[in-house]
C-alpha cells in the first residue's frame, strides 16, 4: 500500500529511518508545489478583451498574505503526504480550500488599481491546479470514509452553504467572473430558470411516459425489443443534430397550425430543445425500468403469485419496490445528461446557461464562458450526489452497503 522509504546514511554505522509516504498524497504534494511555485495564481487584464498577464501568488497578495496562504497550503501538502486518517485529510483539504478561495477574491481586490473599473482579474493555472489538488484530496478522503447517503447529502449541503457564503459575503466581488455576473444579474437568473425548466421538465415528462412504457415493455416481449431499439437509435443522434431535425417539423407546425403557434411552439427556441431532451431521456428511463423489473428474482414473483397477490399488488408491492434502485439509476443518468445537454439549447435559441457559454466563446471572454459553465457543472454534480444518495436509500436496509 505505501512506499517505505529507507535511507541509509553512509559514514555512520548504518542507521535506518522509516518514513511512510502516501503515494496519492505525494502526487498531490507535487501538484501543489507546481501550483505554488511555478504557475501564476491569477491573471490580470487591463480590460475585458486584451490578453492577460499572469501573477504569481507572491505578486497577487500582500507579502504577509502570500506567506500565510503559502504556509497553510504547505501544511496541507504535508498532511496529504504523511497523514493516514481520512478525517484529517478531509479537514486538511477543507482548510486548504478555505484559504485558496478567499485568497483569490483578495488578490482581485489587491491587483485592481483603486477606482479602475475596466481592469479584470481572473483565476489562473495555479489557482486551478490548487483547486484540483485539494479536490482530489477531499474526494479521496470522502471515498475512503465511505459515508452513508445522509452523510453525503449533509456534506453536499455544507459545501453548497460555504460557496453561497463566499459569494454573498462579497469576497469575490472584484473577480472578473462576478463582474460579468453583476452586468447580467437579471438575465443570469432568467437563463437559470430556463435551464432548470428544460432539464427538469423534460425529465419529468420522460418519467411520466417512460415508466408506464417500461412496465408495458417488460410485460410484452415484442414491444420491448422494438421500443428499446428505436429509443437507442434516438439516443445515438447527436444533440445538435436532433435539435436541428426537430426544427423542421416544429417550424411547419407553427406555420400551419395556429394553435401550436399560440402555445409558443416555434421551429427555433425552447420547444425543439425540450422535445429533444425528452426523447433522449426516454431510453434511460424505459431501459432501466425494464432491466429493474426483469432483475426481480423469478422465485419472488412466483411466490407472490402463489400467495394470491393480484397483478396490481405484485407490481406495486413487489416488483416496483425491488426495481426502484435501478429505475432511479436511470433517472440519475437522465438528470445529469439533461443538465449538460440543456446548454446546447442556446444554439437554437432555447436559452439556458448555454447562452453565456456561446456568447463567451463568440467574444473570447473566458469569464463569460465560466459564468455559464460553472453553474452547469455545479448543478450536474449536485444532482449526481443527490440521486446517488436516493439510490442508496432506496436499496435501503434490504441490502448491506458493500
Amino acid at each position: 500500500m505505501n512506499t517505505i522509504l529507507q535511507t541509509t546514511v553512509p559514514g555512520m554505522h548504518s542507521s535506518r529511518s522509516h518514513i511512510i509516504l502516501d503515494r496519492l498524497g505525494s502526487v498531490i504534494a507535487v501538484l501543489i508545489s507546481i501550483a505554488l511555485f511555478a504557475a501564476p495564481f491569477a491573471t490580470y487584464r487591463a480590460n475585458r478583451i486584451v490578453a492577460g498577464e499572469g501573477r504569481m501568488l507572491t505578486e497577487a497578495l500582500p507579502t504577509a498574505g502570500a506567506l500565510g496562504v503559502t504556509a497553510v497550503i504547505l501544511c496541507v501538502a504535508l498532511c496529504a503526504v504523511l497523514a493516514r486518517a481520512p478525517v484529517i485529510r478531509l479537514a486538511a483539504a477543507a482548510a486548504g480550500l478555505g484559504a485558496v478561495f478567499p485568497a483569490l477574491g483578495w488578490s482581485a481586490g489587491f491587483l485592481t488599481p483603486a477606482g479602475n473599473t475596466f481592469a479584470r482579474v481572473s483565476p489562473a493555472l495555479g489557482f486551478w491546479l490548487l483547486t484540483l489538488a485539494l479536490a482530489l484530496l477531499a474526494a479521496d478522503a470522502l471515498t475512503r470514509l465511505r459515508l452513508g447517503p445522509l452523510a453525503r447529502l449533509a456534506a453536499l449541503a455544507v459545501a453548497a452553504g460555504a460557496i453561497a457564503g463566499l459569494l454573498l459575503s462579497g469576497a469575490w466581488n472584484d473577480l472578473s467572473l462576478l463582474k460579468e455576473y453583476a452586468n447580467r444579474a437579471d438575465s443570469f437568473w432568467r437563463e437559470a430558470r430556463q435551464h432548470l425548466w428544460l432539464a427538469l421538465g423534460s425529465m419529468a415528462a420522460a418519467c411520466l411516459v417512460g415508466l408506464p412504457l417500461g412496465i408495458l415493455a417488460h410485460r410484452f416481449r415484442a414491444l420491448r425489443a422494438a421500443v428499446l431499439q428505436v429509443l437507442s437509435i434516438v439516443q445515438t443522434v447527436p444533440s445538435i443534430a436532433l435539435f436541428g431535425i426537430l426544427i423542421a417539423p416544429l417550424g411547419y407546425l407553427a406555420a400551419h397550425v395556429p394553435l401550436a403557434a399560440a402555445l409558443g411552439i416555434r421551429g427555433i427556441g425552447a420547444a425543439p430543445a425540450f422535445i429533444a431532451l425528452f426523447l433522449y431521456s426516454l431510453l434511460p428511463v424505459v431501459g432501466n425500468t425494464v432491466t429493474g423489473l426483469s432483475q426481480v428474482p423469478p422465485a419472488v414473483t412466483d411466490a407472490a403469485r402463489g400467495m394470491g397477490l393480484s397483478r396490481r399488488q405484485r407490481l406495486l408491492e413487489v416488483e416496483l419496490p425491488l426495481a426502484l434502485p435501478v429505475i432511479l439509476a436511470g433517472v440519475r443518468i437522465v438528470l445529469v445528461q439533461n443538465l449538460g445537454l440543456a446548454t446546447v439549447a442556446a444554439l437554437i435559441g432555447g436559452g439556458g446557461f448555454g447562452t453565456f457559454v456561446f456568447q463567451g466563446i463568440g467574444q473570447t471572454a473566458i469569464d463569460l464562458v465560466l459564468l455559464g459553465a460553472v453553474p452547469t457543472v455545479a448543478l450536474s454534480f449536485a444532482a449526481a450526489v443527490i440521486l446517488d444518495a436516493m439510490i442508496d436509500l432506496a436499496k435501503g436496509p434490504s441490502h448491506d452497503r458493500d
Partner: protein, 251 residues
Amino acid sequence: MSLRSSAPRVAALLLLVAFVTAPQLFSFAFEPLTANNAPAIYNQGSLLSLTLSHLRIVFLATLASTMLALALGIFVTRPSGHEFLPLSRSLVNIGQTFPPIAVLAIAVPLVGFGEKPTFIALFLYGLLPIFENTLSGLTGVSPQALDAAKGMGMSPRQRLFQVELPLALPVILAGIRLSVIISLGTATIGSTVAAKGLGEVIIAGLQSNNVAFVLQGGLVVALLAVLIHDGLGIAERVAARRSGRPLDEAR
C-alpha cells in the same frame, strides 16, 4: 447476420455515401423547406470534406483517449496501482457530470479557436467511458478464471494479455462505442469554435434561418452516428461471443 436485418443498414450506408458525394441529386427533397430562393443544398463547402474532417478528429481523439484510458485502467487494477482504484472510480463518476460542452468551452480560451480545443474536449471527455468500462471489465473477470490461470503458472503479464484483457474486451469495446458516439455529437458543437466539421452546416443553417441546411447537417451526423454505433455493436457481439460472455441487450 440475416439479409433482412442487415438490409436497412446497407441502405442507410448507401444513402449516406450518395448524399455526401453528390448532394445536388437530393435538392428536390430540400427545396420545399427553403424560402426566398435560398439554396436548398449546403453551398459553402464540400459536404464530403466536412464529413471526412469530422470523422478524422473523432477518430484521432478516440484513439488517444483509448490508449490513455486503457493504460490507466490496467495500472489501477494491478497490485502496484491498487491504491488509486477507489479514487479513480469516484473521479470517473464525478468527471462524467461535466457536460462535454463545458469542457469544450473552457478549452477555447486556453488554446484558442480551431481543431485544438475540440480535440482536447473530445479526448478528455472520451476518456471517461473507456476508463470506466476498462475498470469494470478488468475487475469483473471471474476470480475462478484468474485463479486457474495462476494455477497453470501464467505470469502476471501472461494473465493480463491472455486472460484478463480478452475477457474484458467486450466491455471495453462498449466503452469505446459510447465514447465515439458522444464525440460525434461534441465534434458537431466544435464547429462553434471553428473546428471543421458537419456542425458548420447546421450552424450556417441556424444563422441564415435555412431549415434545409440544418436538416442536412443533422441527418448526415445522425446517419453517421447510427451506422457507427451499429458497426461497433457488431464488433462487440463478435468479441462477446469469443469471450463467452452474454451481452445484455438493454444497454
